[in-house]
């Protein structure tokens, strides 16, 4: 069985290490916060200007001045701090964040990532994604293995405009986990979702990968 969104988030959460400063993107990456392993303490950074994100507020307690980068209302912790967008991206670009987990539209064999634009169709913008992949030490992409149309998202070369070139370290899809060695070291399938066979993964993947033994 392919992994559900929650199972993908739980697998991504296994990449967290005690003491990490982490930025979580919109969508499945946001769910990672629900699966932080016992004994691991991480500090969540929100690029709109907050370190130490707390959980969503209780009903009736939402504060218009306190949102995450996905514009959802959140809460603060005793250890939280606030800062400007310039300081926020100094943290990100300056290599002070340990891990970025974000969504993807396409990931190529060489670690290129596309996740911000479909020419002529979708006009949203990159937000902070280009800064995150350029500046954060380790980049994990969590995405469905294929488009709804069935088209592969793990591709030889990205056809969509890039978010970053050679920036992805790990891809978690609903079918498995792929390690990417930046700078042309290739892709390795290291885990399969229980009950998903290699043939299915091969059929749904355009990019080349080797299988870890």
């Amino acid at each position: 069985m392919a992994w559900t969104r929650e199972e993908m988030a739980a697998r991504a959460a296994a990449e967290l290490r005690d003491g990490f400063y982490v930025n979580l993107g919109i969508g499945i990456p946001t769910l990672v916060a629900n699966h932080i392993p016992a004994g691991v303490q991480v500090t969540l950074q929100s690029e709109n200007g907050m370190l130490g994100m707390g959980p969503f507020p209780y009903e009736g307690e939402a504060d218009p001045d306190l949102i995450n980068a996905g514009k959802q209302t959140i809460t603060e912790l005793a250890s939280s701090s606030y800062f400007s967008s310039a300081d926020s991206f100094a943290m990100i670009r300056g290599g002070h964040i340990d891990l970025s987990i974000l969504g993807g539209m396409q990931v190529a064999e060489n670690g290129d990532l596309a996740n911000w634009m479909v020419p002529g169709k979708m006009v949203k913008g990159m937000g902070g994604a280009m800064d995150l992949v350029a500046g954060v030490r380790r980049v994990v992409v969590v995405m469905e293995h294929t488009e709804r149309s069935g088209a592969a998202k793990l591709v030889r070369r990205c056809s969509l405009p890039l978010t970053g070139a050679g920036v992805v370290d790990l891809v978690i899809t609903d079918l498995g986990v792929f390690q990417i060695a930046r700078h042309g070291g290739g892709v390795r399938l290291t885990e399969r979702a229980a009950g998903v066979d290699l043939e299915e993964i091969r059929a749904k993947t355009e990019g080349a990968f080797e299988v870890a033994t």
């Binding site: 690029e47 907050m50 218009p64 001045d65 514009k71 991206f89 670009r93 890039l162 070139a165």
Partner: protein, 242 residues
């Protein structure tokens, strides 16, 4: 000392607006936007604007009302996904758009306010963002040159301010406001509370008054939330007394 305090948002913009100008507006989504000053820009009818702001509001609030008024010619933003009118105008070719990575946008504005003409960043190397820009290698890594950004007018929103123009922001409503306050040829701040001089505490000031030319207490704040997201309280355990 020149009196910075204004009594209305409209008055605070008096003599500053002209067609074809560039305006920077603070805020992230609808959080921390100068909602009274945006409404005053809308009411002025000024047009052919270039607007620099991380987002463009929603269809009927924030900068979205300037779009609806046909007043914006060009936007410089990092993300506009919340605004359907924006997408329609852009795809129809009626609106110019320059996407900047969010951190690059913040740093371009910071540089503009700090007198730094340009800087080199790894962000965007190998992407559309770097096209037509100088790319240079430093210590074995590629960086793209980005130019500073300034504006004819910066409009920002703070929680509290005083007559000296000192500003204090609240929580994530800070976002782009402090950097934009430094990068306007003229900066107008609106505050929720105008406090007496001395009440804010010199060590607690986020934006020193030198960056603020005019200050006004907003007449009213809608403080709209884009995505109210909550969690349930721990459900009371159903039980009966015995």
């Amino acid at each position: 000392m020149a009196d910075k305090v204004q009594t209305s948002a409209q008055g605070a913009l008096d003599g500053l607006l002209f067609d074809g100008m560039t305006i920077m507006a603070g805020g992230f989504g609808l959080c921390g936007i100068p909602e009274n000053l945006i409404a005053a820009v809308r009411a002025s009818g000024v047009n052919d604007l270039t607007v620099i702001s991380n987002n463009c509001g929603v269809d009927d609030f924030g900068l979205g009302i300037l779009l609806a008024g046909g007043q914006i010619r060009k936007m410089i933003s990092s993300y506009v996904g919340e605004n359907r009118l924006f997408e329609r105008l852009y795809l129809a070719g009626e609106l110019e758009l320059e996407f900047n990575p969010q951190g690059t946008l913040a740093e371009r504005i910071r540089a503009g306010g700090a007198g730094v003409a340009a800087f080199f960043t790894r962000t965007g190397v190998g992407t559309q963002v770097a096209e037509g820009k100088e790319v240079r290698e430093f210590d074995g890594e590629l960086y793209v040159m980005e130019r500073a950004l300034t504006a004819d007018l910066a409009i920002v929103r703070a929680w509290k301010g005083d007559a000296a123009g000192n500003l204090v922001y609240r929580k994530t409503a800070r976002n782009f406001n402090p950097v934009m306050a430094t990068a306007g040829k003229v900066t107008v701040a609106e505050v929720e509370t105008l406090a007496p001089i001395g009440a804010l505490g010199p060590d607690q000031i986020h934006t020193p008054g030198i960056f603020v030319d005019r200050i006004v207490q907003g007449a009213a704040y809608e403080r709209r939330i884009e995505r109210v997201t909550t969690r349930p309280r721990a459900a009371a355990v159903a039980r009966e007394e015995v």
